[in-house]
C-alpha cells in the first residue's frame, strides 16, 4: 500500500513537472520612473541590482544617446548585466515620459532599486510584475528628491507568486524629503516646518537610544501634524472650488504631503 502511495506521489509530481515544463512563461518585471507631475520629464534615473548584476543608469558616466550607422539610437552609458533586461527612455506610451527597466523572465529573488535624482522634484516609481502564468501585480511609491540624491527600494520577484516592492524608509530619508519639500516649495506653510523637523530630529536621537515606544509617539505626532495640514489644504482647495482628490487623480499630481505621510507611516510600521 505504501509502495502504491509512493508511486502515486511520484506520478503526481511527474505530471506537475511536465505541466510546468510545457506551460508558457509570461514572467516579466517592468519598473518605470516618472516625474510626479504629469507630462514632465523624469527627475530620476533607475538602477536595479540583482545578485551583483546591474541594469539601468550608470551614474559614473551619465546617459548618452548615440546613433548607429543604421540609424538605431542606442542608449550608451548604462548597465545591462541582467539577462533579457533593457533600460530605456520611453515617451510614447501615451502618459508621461519615463525611464523604464524591463526584464523578461526575471530570476526569482531580491532586487535592490536605486532611485537616482537627476533633478530636484517629486518622482513616482511604478512596478508591474507578471508571474509565469501571466498574473500581474502593480505597486508604486513616490518620493521627493534632489539632484544627486539617491533613494532605495527593495523588490522581491516571485515567478510563481505575487511580487513585492517596498521603498526603503529611514530617518535620513524622511528628513531629506521634508527639507526638499520646503526647499523646492512643494510645501509652503513654514509654520509647520520647524516643528516637523524637530520631531524627526527627536526620532533620530531616540533611535540611537533604542527607545521604540517614544519613537512611535514622536512619529505619530509627526504624522498628525501632516494630516492636519492636509485637511487644511483640502479645505482651502474646496474654498477655491477645486476638488483635492479628484484633481490629484486626474492630473496624477502626487502631493508631497501624501508622500511624507505614507513614508512616515511605513517607517512607523517598522517599529
Amino acid at each position: 500500500m505504501k509502495r502504491v502511495l509512493k508511486i502515486s506521489m511520484i506520478f503526481t509530481q511527474f505530471v506537475f513537472l511536465i505541466s510546468f515544463l510545457k506551460s508558457a512563461d509570461f514572467s516579466a518585471l517592468t519598473i518605470r520612473g516618472y516625474n510626479g507631475f504629469a507630462g514632465q520629464e523624469p527627475c530620476i534615473q533607475l538602477l536595479l541590482v540583482y545578485d551583483g548584476k546591474r541594469l539601468g543608469f550608470d551614474k559614473t558616466s551619465g546617459l548618452k544617446h548615440e546613433i548607429s550607422k543604421e540609424g538605431y539610437i542606442y542608449t550608451k552609458s548604462k548597465f545591462t548585466e541582467i539577462p533579457l533586461g533593457t533600460y530605456e527612455y520611453e515617451d510614447a506610451y501615451g502618459g508621461s515620459p519615463c525611464y523604464e527597466i524591463d526584464i523578461a523572465k526575471p530570476p526569482q529573488g531580491l532586487y535592490t532599486l536605486h532611485i537616482i535624482g537627476i533633478d530636484n522634484g517629486i518622482y513616482c516609481v511604478n512596478m508591474i510584475a507578471f508571474d509565469k502564468d501571466a498574473n500581474d501585480v502593480q505597486m508604486y511609491f513616490s518620493g521627493i528628491i534632489s539632484k544627486g540624491e539617491e533613494h532605495h527600494a527593495e523588490i522581491i520577484y516571485f515567478p510563481y507568486d505575487t511580487s513585492r516592492m517596498k521603498k526603503i524608509v529611514n530617518i535620513e530619508l524622511l528628513k531629506n524629503q521634508l527639507k526638499n519639500a520646503f526647499k523646492y516649495k512643494f510645501m509652503k506653510n513654514k509654520k509647520i516646518k520647524s516643528s516637523l523637523l524637530k520631531k524627526l530630529n527627536k526620532v533620530d536621537k531616540l533611535a540611537k537610544l533604542n527607545q521604540k515606544e517614544n519613537i512611535k509617539k514622536e512619529l505619530q505626532e509627526f504624522i498628525s501634524i501632516l494630516e492636519q495640514e492636509k485637511s487644511n489644504l483640502i479645505a482651502q482647495e474646496l474654498e477655491k472650488g477645486q476638488n483635492y482628490s479628484r484633481s490629484s487623480q486626474q492630473d496624477k499630481i502626487i502631493l508631497p504631503i501624501d508622500i511624507l505621510i505614507t513614508d512616515a507611516n511605513n517607517f512607523l510600521a517598522s517599529f
Binding site: A24, E70, Y72, S96
Partner: protein
Amino acid sequence: MKKISIFLFPFFALFLYAGNNSRTCFELLLIDTEGKMVGYDRTSGKIVEEIPESWYGDIFIPNLEGEDIFSRKSLEVIKPSKGKYVLYVVGVDTGPFAVRMETRDKDGNYKIFFTSGAISPGEIKKIFIDYTPEVGGITHIFEDDTPPVTDIEVGGPKFEVFGVNYISKSTKICFNSTDPIVVEGASGVKYTEYRIDNSSWVVYTVALLDCSVTSNSVTLTWTAVGDDGNIGQAIRYDIRYSTQSILTDEDFDKATQVEVDLQPKPSGEKETFTVGGLQQGTEYYFAIKVIDDANNISELSNCVFARTLLDVPYFCQADPQWRGIPHLRPRDVQTENTIGKVGCALTSMAMIINYYADYHPDENMRNKIVKRNPLELNDLLVENKWYAKNNDIDFRYIVKVSSGSIMMTKEEEPPTDNTVNGYLKNKMPIILKVYNEKTSNSHFVVVTGSCVPLGYTINDPGYKDNKNLGKYGNKYQDLRRFKPSDGNDNYSALSIRGYPGRKK
C-alpha cells in the same frame, strides 16, 4: 522618397549564423552621370561621399551566439537623381560576392534586385544602373561591359564560294545569348546586341521582372520583348511563382503557373501584371518566359523575390469614433490626453490583437482572442486597470487582453533589421518605436512587411496614408516584439531569426 540602397555582402551571407569566417572581399564605388562618387575610391584609398545624401560603410551583424560578427558593405543614396549610374565592385581579396539592390520611389514602392559572382584582388566588376524614380526605381541593370557569349545558329542552307561561307538573305538566324557571370542567385539579366552588315544594332534582352506587393498579391512589371530579339511582339507570357527560387528551367516547370490574360505589348513597352490569391506574409519567387508566334519559348527571366505583406488590420488613432476619448482613463474624465492625441501605442496594440484574431497559428488560441478596435481596447484596459500608473500603455498586458494567446517577448540581440525581418518571415508583426523630427515626438507604428534593409511597410496609427518609415527618417529607435503563444512557449527566440529575402 526616392532612394537606392545597395548592399554588398559575402555570397555566403546565407551562412550568416555559421560562424566568424565570413568576410568582405570587395569594396563598392558608385558614380553618377556627373562623375560624383560615393564609396571606396581605390585611387586615394579613402571613402568618398560626393553624391548628396549618400553613405558608404560597414554594417556589422552579430552571429547566433551574439559574439562574432559578420560584416557587409552598405551604400545608400537618398533621393537619387534620375539617370545612369555605374557601380564598381572592386576586389580586395578572392571570394564570392553578392549585391542586393533595393530601390524605392517617392511613393514608397520598392524593388529588390540580386546579382552575384566571384571576384579576385584588383578585379573590377561593373554594374550599370538606370534609375527611374517614376516607376519605382531601377529599370535596367546591365551587368559587366564585356559582351556575353553569343551562339549563332543558322537555320537555312549554307553554301561555299571560294572557301567563304555564305547564307541566303532569307535564312533565319537565331541568337542564343548567355551571360557568363550570371550564377545562381544572380539577376539573370541576359544582354547582347547584334547587327547584320551595316544595319542598326539590335539589343536582345529577356524579360526583366520587378515587383511590388500587398498582403495577397504581387504586381510584376517588366519590359516587353519582341518575338525576334527586341523586334516585333511576343504572343503570350508564361508567368509562374513558387515558394522556392526559380533559377532553372526545371524550377520553372515545377512552379505554379498563373493564368495570364495579357496580350503582350510591343517590344520595349512596360508590362504590368498582378498575381493575386496569394497568402499573407509569405515569400514567393516569380519568373517569366515569353512565347512568340512560332511557339518559340524564351529563356527564363530573372527570378524576383517578394514577401507579401502581413494582413494587419489598420486602425487610425484619429478615427472620429474614438479620437476624443480619454486615453486610458474613464470616459468622463476631462483630459487633453485623448486616444487621438497620444494613443499610438494603444492603437498599434489593437492592430496586433486583431491580426492574431485572424492569423494565430493555433486555432484554439485564435478563438480566444476577441477583436477590439482601439476604443473597445481602451475600455477594457481601463476597466481592468491594465495599464501603468501614469496612464501609460504597458504592452505586456497584451497577454491579458488576448487571454494568453499573444505575448510580448524579448531577446538579447539588439534591434536590427535581421530581427525585424526574422519576425516578419515568421508572420509575426512587431511594433517599431520611431521618432518624428518635425514634431519632436516618439511614436509607435506596426510593421507589416519589408525589404532590405529599411524598406519597411507600416501601418501608421497616426497617418493613414503613411506606408513607410520615410516620415521618420527611415530609422527606428526600438522595437516591441510579440509572438503567438500556444501555451507551450514553442516560439523560441532562435527560430525567428533570418535574413531578409535570402534565397532558399
